[in-house]
């Protein structure tokens, strides 16, 4: 049976839904005070500082690592700059054991969960301590113990996976949910449509968190979709949706907390659209001056989410100038020193080239590997990373 329960009209009436405007939820003004009419959110000092430290850490990490990339120490980097509140505010609203399936610009979530600087560095330098065994480009972090799925470059593939993961969580019945992050660009992929529709039909505890940062590399949102953001798509799936100021840590946190409650208590998937801006280049390979104005960037720099939170903390006297200075300095030092150690660590063992393709190395692959080792033994100087390891049989 068809499901419609609609009224009847006798003249052809078209609409594009423009009259249905989704409001934006905000709490915190840029000066660190709440909007008139906004209630003080339920966020205690410890958690607020945990969030703030993760935000500052993320900013410092991004600055240092971009610099390292510019110095040629790192092949590639991607910054989260400008989007720290969106990412960290939402992660902080979850249970630490909820699953995170991110796109790639969500290092803040990991920082909040306690991924160590060393863990970041090992991945960035693809050294022998990298959990990913040096197989993926920098920023493709993953952590099983922190419930953070290893990043995969193909866009939007994680979105239906999140629906499936959360379906499994629902069956497991332990009250966990999954959050999946993605950009407004990735939301154009077919996988997005599949994921949201399936989640709504199967009532899955998943939060779809769209970082609408205005750009997909050089493509502005207005060339990505004609609608007013990504949020109105929820209507098409009959999914609960909220739009939030993505630079407003308190609003993002409150919205996600409420969304989590709906997901976990009612198995109700939720779409959150966080309006924000990618202040940095798309990646270290990109130069945004080719497609947007400094003026536009400046306008958004005024809305810096970290500064906004800092002012709120100062206002509440949970934080002071000295704290700030100490934090900044210690983080800079820690990042630099940890980087120096990590870049000196040797690359992953040669056998990581063939392990983990399957649960066990297949006979054919083992043979290919033996052949490779023989070859490296013949030309050790041509393969400096692995020459020392090519000795002997399997």
């Amino acid at each position: 049976m068809t499901t419609t329960r609609s009224e009847v009209v006798y003249t052809p009436t078209f609409t594009d839904g423009d009259e249905f405007r989704l409001p934006t939820f905000k709490l915190l003004q840029q000066d660190g005070t709440l909007y008139d009419g906004a209630e003080t959110p339920d966020l205690d000092r410890d958690k607020a500082l945990r969030i703030y430290r993760a935000m500052v850490f993320t900013r410092v990490l991004d600055e240092r690592m971009l610099a390292a990339q510019r110095q040629g120490r790192l092949s590639f980097y991607m910054q989260c700059t400008g989007e720290e509140a969106a990412v960290i505010g939402s992660t902080a609203a979850l249970d630490d054991a909820d699953m995170i399936m991110a796109q790639y610009r969500e290092q803040g979530a990991l920082a909040y969960r306690g991924f160590t600087t060393d863990e970041f560095m090992n991945q960035l330098f693809g050294n022998e301590q990298d959990y990913g065994k040096g197989r993926q480009m920098p920023i493709h972090y993953g952590s099983a113990k922190l419930h953070y799925m290893t990043i995969s470059s193909p866009l939007a593939t994680q979105i239906p996976q999140a629906t499936g993961y959360a379906y499994g969580q629902k069956l497991a019945g332990k009250g966990h949910c999954t959050i999946t992050y993605f950009g407004e660009g990735a939301a154009s992929e077919g996988d997005f449509h599949a994921a949201l529709n399936m989640a709504a039909v199967h009532k899955v505890p998943v939060i779809f968190f769209c970082r609408n940062n205005g750009y997909a590399i050089s493509t502005p949102a207005i060339e990505q979709f004609a609608a007013d953001g990504v949020a109105p798509r929820a209507f098409g799936y009959k999914m609960q949706v909220i739009r939030v100021d993505g630079n407003d840590i308190l609003a993002v946190h409150e919205a996600t907390k409420a969304a989590r409650r709906m997901a976990v208590e009612d198995n109700c998937p939720v779409l959150i659209e966080a309006m924000t801006y990618r202040l940095a280049a798309h990646s270290s390979s990109d130069d945004p001056s080719g497609y947007r104005s400094k003026k536009e960037e400046e306008a958004w720099r005024e809305k810096d989410p970290i500064l906004r939170m800092q002012r709120w903390l100062l206002d509440r006297q949970w934080w002071n100038e000295d704290d700030e200075k100490a934090l900044q300095e210690s983080l800079r030092r820690e990042v630099l020193e940890t980087m120096k150690r990590a870049e000196k660590r040797p690359p992953p063992a040669l056998e990581t080239l063939v392990s983990d393709v399957y649960d066990e190395v297949t006979p054919a692959l083992a043979e290919q590997f033996e052949h490779l080792k023989m070859h490296i033994r013949k030309y050790p100087e041509a393969y400096p990373k692995s020459a020392g390891q090519a000795k002997g049989g399997a």
């Binding site: 799925m149 996976q161 499936g164 599949a194």
Partner: protein, 325 residues
């Protein structure tokens, strides 16, 4: 032992797997209450409930994306793609995701629990889009396993093996054989090994290799050949990836001749991989060129399907030509 056709054997394997482990879930288009358009999932929803056997919306990329996520979470999804011809919208989720999940995460995460079932192959007047044999597309993808059974007994054992294998497995079912005949199938729980070819019949003069529905065609061709006193060794590859080269090598070292057959087009088909490997490993023992008997390099036709297919006569001719080389 019971007499079952291949569909019943598959249904029985799914039932067995779901009974043995509550993490096993079956889903796909029309898979739920209706039991699938071929009825491979009949009664499973009634028996195990709507949360474990259900319809999905009509979106293959979503079905496999969802299944990947479920498998990563620790469930054991058995996803059905209604026809193998419709697996391509999920190609990215399979080739870029399922296949690389474990490797890219350094084994932090894996989707080893995943099994994808899909009916494949021609001979049912299905034309372009209900006849394709896409195994070679996946066989170029390290990280996947690809399995094709030839009869009801194999189907149950290999499917149970696939569901419990700790790697993502594509399980292609020869739909032409679904109801073609019955065979003895144990009602108990049993697994057949993945990655192992099976010598169906020993012989001395030539090795004839195939998988799935082609095994029955090979059988007919070999009957003709044996009438002409050509002694054939017949091998069912069973697992296309990772394939059991050693069994084929050993056989060809003995016979000196090899014919490989599949329904998919010649160019880029998996017979090419086999021929390339065997000419390398058995070079000095080969008495004639390795022959490939396959579909034509065209889309799958309809009215002239009989002419297109690598039937027993074409295989028989290839065997003779090979012997006479």
């Amino acid at each position: 032992m019971a007499k079952m056709n291949m569909l019943q054997a598959i249904n029985n394997a799914l039932d067995t797997a779901m009974a043995a482990d509550e993490r096993v879930l079956c889903f796909g288009e029309d898979v739920g209450g209706f039991g699938g358009v071929f009825r491979a999932t009949s009664h499973l929803q009634q028996k195990y409930g709507k949360t474990r056997c259900f319809n999905t919306p009509l979106v293959e990329q979503g079905i496999i994306g969802f299944a990947n996520g479920l498998a990563a979470q620790g469930s054991i999804p058995v996803a059905e793609i209604q026809f193998a011809d419709y697996i391509f919208p999920a190609f990215d989720q399979i080739v870029n995701e399922s296949a690389k999940f474990r490797y890219r995460s350094g084994n932090l995460f894996n989707v080893g629990g995943l099994t994808i079932r899909a009916p494949y192959g021609g001979g049912i007047s299905g034309g372009h889009y209900h006849s394709q044999s896409p195994e070679a597309y996946f066989a170029h993808t390290p990280g996947l396993k690809v399995v094709v059974p030839r009869n009801p007994h194999q189907a149950k054992g290999l499917l149970l093996g696939a569901i419990r294998d700790p790697n993502p497995v594509l399980f292609f079912e020869p739909k032409r054989l679904y109801r073609a005949s019955t065979g003895d199938v144990p009602e108990s729980d049993y697994e057949l090994p993945l990655g192992e070819a099976e010598i169906i019949k020993e012989g001395d003069d030539i090795t004839v290799l195939g998988w799935g529905a082609q095994m029955e065609v090979i059988e007919r061709a070999v009957e003709l050949a044996e009438k002409e006193s050509i002694s054939c060794e017949v091998i069912d590859l069973r697992t296309i990836l990772p394939w059991d080269a050693q069994t084929v090598i050993d056989s060809v070292l003995k016979t000196g001749r090899l014919v490989v057959t599949h329904e998919a087009p010649l160019t880029g088909g998996f017979a090419g991989e086999i021929a390339a490997t065997i000419q390398d490993r058995c070079f000095l023992y080969l008495e004639s060129p390795i022959a490939r008997v396959t579909g034509l390099d065209t889309p799958f036709p309809l009215t002239l399907e009989k002419e297109y297919l690598p039937d027993h006569l074409k295989i028989f001719e290839a065997i003779k030509a090979n012997i006479e080389f």
